[in-house]
């Protein structure tokens, strides 16, 4: 696996920490950490359940704001941006895949893929969406609704949707978590194939060590403490939740 750091990081994290107040008690979910992610890198976030993986992901994607520190996403200081401004940045740079698919139930597969493009005002959205669904092998399911599709199929629609706006960065929170082995494999292959094809930066949260091994870099979180594994190193004691 080759690792070519470009000059400018797509994501730069400086002393970012997250604490929440719970019944008058300060709860440290993430301890201060700094790191950077460069274009076309693949990064896996590993850790036990409740260790703070999703929290980190939400901060990197600008879904939530850090309690301390700075986050630059494609050079945008998202730690001090409003919700609408962050949404704008997400629309331009980010794609998402979730464990529970998060498709819009009232829209067909095709319309689900078209949705982010329409929000961004892209022109020939339907054509592009069809091509994407074709590339995930669902060209014959265009007009089906999510509840007419299997879990694996739904996640493939979600992958097509994630690549719809040609994002610079793709965030995936346990993309195979709800799938059986076979479907998980399929989704995993698609994800990495498309990733390569579009030259996207991939940030992946997973419990699956094999999936993590496909990534160039690995971040381990343990009780809110973020540590980067040295390239090629196997995580020693990342127990599954």
């Amino acid at each position: 696996m080759t690792f070519v750091p470009a000059n400018l990081p797509v994501i730069e994290v400086k002393q970012v920490a997250k604490t929440v107040k719970l019944n008058d008690e300060e709860l440290n979910i993430l301890r201060p950490a700094s790191f950077a992610i460069y274009p076309k890198e693949t990064l896996a976030i590993l850790g036990a359940s409740g260790s703070g993986k999703s929290t980190l992901l939400s901060l990197l994607a600008g879904l939530d704001l850090p309690s301390e520190g700075e986050i630059y996403l494609a050079s945008n200081p998202i730690h001090k941006m409003s919700e609408d401004q962050r949404a704008q940045v997400r629309a331009q740079h980010i794609g998402f895949i979730f464990q529970s698919f998060m498709l819009v139930q009232s829209l067909t597969a095709l319309e689900n893929v078209t949705l982010p493009m329409e929000l961004a005002g892209i022109d020939n959205a339907t054509e592009q969406a069809k091509a994407l669904l074709d590339s995930v092998g669902l060209n014959n399911r265009l007009s089906h609704f999510p509840n007419q599709l299997s879990g694996g199929e739904q996640q493939r629609v979600a992958i097509a949707r994630a690549f719809a706006c040609k994002p610079d960065i793709l965030f995936a929170d346990e993309p195979t978590g709800n799938l059986d082995l076979e479907n998980g494999k399929k989704v995993q292959n698609l994800l990495f194939d498309l990733n390569k094809e579009f030259g996207t930066t991939l940030v992946l949260v997973t419990h699956d060590l094999k999936l993590a091994d496909l990534c160039a870099r690995k971040l381990h979180i343990h009780g809110g403490v973020i540590a980067e594994a040295i390239n090629g190193d196997k995580p020693s004691k990342s127990n599954r939740g």
Binding site: S54, L57, S58, L63, D64, E83, D84, A87, Q88, V89, R90, A91, Q92, I94, F96, F98, S100, M102, V104, Q105, S106, L107, E111, L115, P116, E118, L119, A120, G121, D123, P146, N147, R161, C165, D173
Partner: protein, 839 residues
């Protein structure tokens, strides 16, 4: 950006949801609100117009302007309003024929008479009357049968009135605007108004009543009145309308209208509740969509546009559909009721349209938009953390704005402050009391949870978690059942009172002017014919000359705005007054002050009607002096009575004890019910008593009966609308409650609970909720009914004990069945559907 994607998106989401039936309940709620307001106002407006139309036949016009001086041409001959005016002059005069002379009430009419209703003629003195379109010609008079008998007239004879001669061309059976007085009023003669000057009867100082009869649309009439009012000297003019009519007809009409109003209010409130519940669900279903849209970069402006557009589309479709359904519903009702309703109903105004659309916009708009505020605050992070569900509006803001809208609707709709307040307070009171009970119960449980741990704690935690949803459901169920009960019980009581008013055997004739020595004979004769004569009342036509030795002129309170009744009272005082004397308190009379004459009393006492007493400032213990045929008789006021003037009984302002006019012979009056087939016998009997007068109130009774029947039909129709609205509330609430349970069902199934167990527990929950709601509803509707009947509808109130038992049982069973039917679908869903429903 290319086109306006938010509009496309909003439209697409909407179409999809509509196709999947997700919008059915919310659309149905708006539709029902609009349709019920629309059809009810259309319907009641039309029925009201029809009823007014029928009642106006008693007035022979829509409005009457009356004065003791000639009505200026500028008023009666105006041309700026689209109204019809008909002139009438009333006076009393002697009528001569063949050396005999009799006093008659002359009614000088024009060619347009009557503007409403019919003149009834008869071929012979005792034959069945028929209505006529024939017009009275100048030079002719139509005389009542009595005059033909008394003067020994035949048709075509020439009679003299004043300085002029007239042909007695027809026998008059009844004129529509005849003053219904059971006392010795002289028989009526119709004369053409152009003949009046030639009689030379009207001289300065003679008692003449000039009348302008007016007909037209109610809008036009109102405009005319607004124009007229400032020009009128209220001391000289009286203005009569049908609605203010204090007759039995007017009273039935007013009561029916109140019920229409009340029932439509109930259905509006119910539909508003259904919209509220459905709209909340609608917003909750879109929490994930908003999170997804925001995650994929949607701006909050875009999201607002999408959902506001959607809500507006729903609202527009709901309102349009509601108008259509309302139109069809009332057309259908009129089609089926064609036989009962008069056929040429007047056109209604734009009011039903405006009210229906306003209701849709106000209540649909408010309840649809309210939950959107929370929807807009859903953070994108919800996509990772399902428990994030946005910021609730402050409880205070929610409650007070909802209360304001509901109360506003009630007020706008009823334009009756008191009614709106009673309904609102009773509904809001129920809700508040229920809330407090739920809260207290919860606190108690929480305290218990400190005592024990383990399973109990878990159960309490679960209860606590859903307590808000459960108490909301309880409040919604209770309100629906409560309003249904109010509509039902009120309908029953209303019908009962109407029926009582019109029960078979209600007197349809009065006999007056029966001499003292004739009365027993007369009653006996009737008895042998199988007709029961009612109570006989002696009539003493006397003059009230002083109160405590003060002359009356000083006592008359002079206020300008007198009603018809007051005018009658006033005209009775100082002139002749019909007193009776009896020891038995007449029916529909209640003593409000003092005591009724006791059997062993030997003092001359009097009982006076409440309003007259007030008007003349007469108190208990005052001494009244009556002039009866030249002699003065004294009586001390020993009681004050309330009289129900809305009955077909002989009613009296003053009743004296037998001691006052002891043994002075006088004439008697009585009422009786004469079956149709005994008509001939009546004529036989009456021929033996030429001086007695028969007063026929059959036409009036028939009128009241028809009106009550029509009103009853209308009430029935409205009642079903209320039931429909209440059912919709139940359905939306059950749906909402089940959706809240969906996640739990999912978890329970995953934990291996059998679907049978889940179903059974759900049914128990609903049955319990139903029983509780039924009980609360009975209690609160009893309270509301008491307030409504005693303060708004002027009816008597009594407990509805059976309902305390039946309502909780029926509502428990009903909700259990409904709950079972809806939860069957949910429990049997497959995994994906369930996750979709739960999210």
């Amino acid at each position: 950006m290319t086109t306006t994607p938010w509009f496309k998106m909003a439209f697409r989401f909407l179409l999809r949801e509509a196709k999947k039936g997700e919008l059915n309940l919310i659309l149905a709620s708006i539709l029902l609100a609009v349709a019920s307001v629309f059809s009810l106002t259309l319907f009641s407006e039309k029925v009201r117009l029809a009823l007014v139309e029928q009642s106006s036949q008693f007035l022979a016009a829509d409005r009457v302007l009356s004065s003791s001086r000639p009505i200026p041409d500028s008023l009666k001959a105006e041309t700026q309003f689209k109204l019809t005016h008909s002139e009438q002059i009333r006076f009393s005069s002697m009528i001569y024929f063949d050396g005999e002379l009799k006093l008659a009430s002359i009614k000088a009419i024009d060619d347009l008479y009557p503007l409403k209703g019919d003149v009834l003629l008869a071929d012979t003195v005792f034959s069945e009357p028929f209505s006529t379109r024939d017009k009275l010609k100048p030079g002719e008079v139509w005389l009542e049968a009595k005059l033909f008998q008394q003067l020994n007239l035949s048709l075509g004879d020439i009679v003299e009135i004043g300085d002029s001669e007239f042909i007695a061309s027809r026998i008059l059976a009844a004129s529509p605007d005849k003053t219904l007085s059971v006392f010795g009023q002289s028989p009526e003669v119709l004369m053409h108004v152009t003949d009046v000057p030639s009689t030379n009867i009207i001289q300065p100082g003679s008692r003449v009543n000039y009348r302008d009869y007016i007909a037209g649309t109610s809008d036009e009439l109102n405009r005319y009145y607004d124009w007229l009012k400032p020009q009128l000297n209220v001391d000289q003019f009286s203005w009569y309308t049908v609605e203010e009519d204090n007759s039995p007809v007017g009273a039935s009409l007013a009561r029916a209208q109140r019920y229409f109003l009340l029932a439509s209010l109930l259905s509006v409130v119910l539909a508003a509740t259904a919209i509220g519940v459905a709209a909340k669900r609608y917003a909750q279903r879109h929490y994930d969509l908003v999170a997804i849209l925001k995650t994929f970069g949607a701006q909050s402006q875009q999201i607002k546009k999408i959902f506001i557009t959607q809500a507006s589309l729903i609202l527009v479709v709901g309102i349009l559909a509601g108008l259509l359904v309302g139109l069809i519903a009332q057309a259908g009702v009129f089609y089926f009721l064609a036989d009962v309703l008069p056929n040429n109903l007047p056109e209604t105004s734009a009011k039903p349209w405006i009210l229906a659309i306003a209701t849709g916009l106000l209540c649909g708009g408010f309840f649809l938009m309210l939950p959107l505020f929370r929807l807009f605050t859903i953070p994108p992070l919800r996509i990772l953390r399902q428990q994030l569900s946005g910021q609730k509006l402050k409880m205070f803001v929610q409650v007070s704005s909802t209360a304001l809208v509901i109360w506003g609707l009630m007020w706008l709709y009823s334009q009756d402050f008191k009614l709106a307040c009673i309904l609102f307070v009773s509904s809001a009171g129920t809700a508040a009391v229920l809330y407090v009970i739920a809260l207290a119960g919860l606190k108690l449980l929480r305290r218990l949870s400190f005592v024990k741990g383990g399973a109990l704690k878990l159960a309490i935690a679960r209860l606590h978690q859903r307590s808000q949803a459960n108490s909301f459901a309880l409040v919604a169920f209770t309100l629906a059942i409560q309003l249904m009960l109010i509509a039902l019980l009120l309908k029953g009581d209303l019908f009962e009172q109407w029926l009582a008013q019109l029960k078979p055997g209600t007197p349809n004739y009065f006999v007056a002017n029966l001499a003292h020595h004739q009365k027993d004979d007369f009653a006996e004769q009737f008895k042998t014919k199988g007709v029961e004569l009612g109570d006989l009342y002696p009539i003493y036509r006397s003059r009230l000359v002083s109160v405590n030795n003060e002359t009356l002129q000083d006592k008359l309170l002079d206020d300008s705005q007198q009603t018809k009744e007051e005018e009658e009272q006033r005209s009775a005082i100082g002139r002749e007054l019909n007193l009776t004397s009896t020891l038995i308190l007449p029916k529909e009379n209640t003593i409000v002050e003092g005591q009724w004459f006791s059997e062993d009393n030997d003092l001359p006492l009097a009982s006076i009607e409440e309003k007259l007493a007030k008007r003349m400032n007469i108190k208990l213990g005052d001494t009244l002096a009556f002039d009866f045929s030249g002699q003065v008789y004294l009586a001390r006021v020993s009681s004050i009575r309330k009289v129900n003037w809305q009955t077909f009984n002989a009613n009296f302002f003053i009743i004296v004890s037998p001691q006052v006019f002891s043994n002075i012979p006088t004439s008697y009056i009585a009422s009786f019910h004469l079956p149709i087939d005994k008509q001939a016998e009546l004529n036989q009997v009456m021929q033996q008593y030429p001086s007695a007068r028969i007063i026929d109130v059959r036409a009036m009774l028939e009128q009241v009966r028809t009106i009550s029947q029509q009103a009853a039909l209308a009430v029935e129709f409205i009642f079903y609308l209320v039931i429909l609205a209440a059912s919709l509330v139940l359905a939306t609430q059950i749906q909402a409650s089940l959706a809240e349970r969906a996640k739990e069902f999912h978890v329970l199934t995953c934990l291996g609970a059998k679907s049978k167990v889940i179903k059974r527990s759900t049914i128990f929950e609903f049955a319990l909720l139903g029983a509780l709601a039924g009980l609360f509803a009975t209690a609160s509707s009893e309270l509301a009914l008491w307030a409504l009947q005693t303060h708004v509808l002027q009816m008597t109130w009594s407990w509805h004990l059976a309902y305390w038992l039946y309502t909780p049982i029926i509502s428990a069973v009903l909700l259990a069945i409904l709950g079972y039917l809806s939860c069957r679908g949910l429990v049997n869903q497959n995994y994906h559907q369930r996750v979709a429903t739960a999210s």
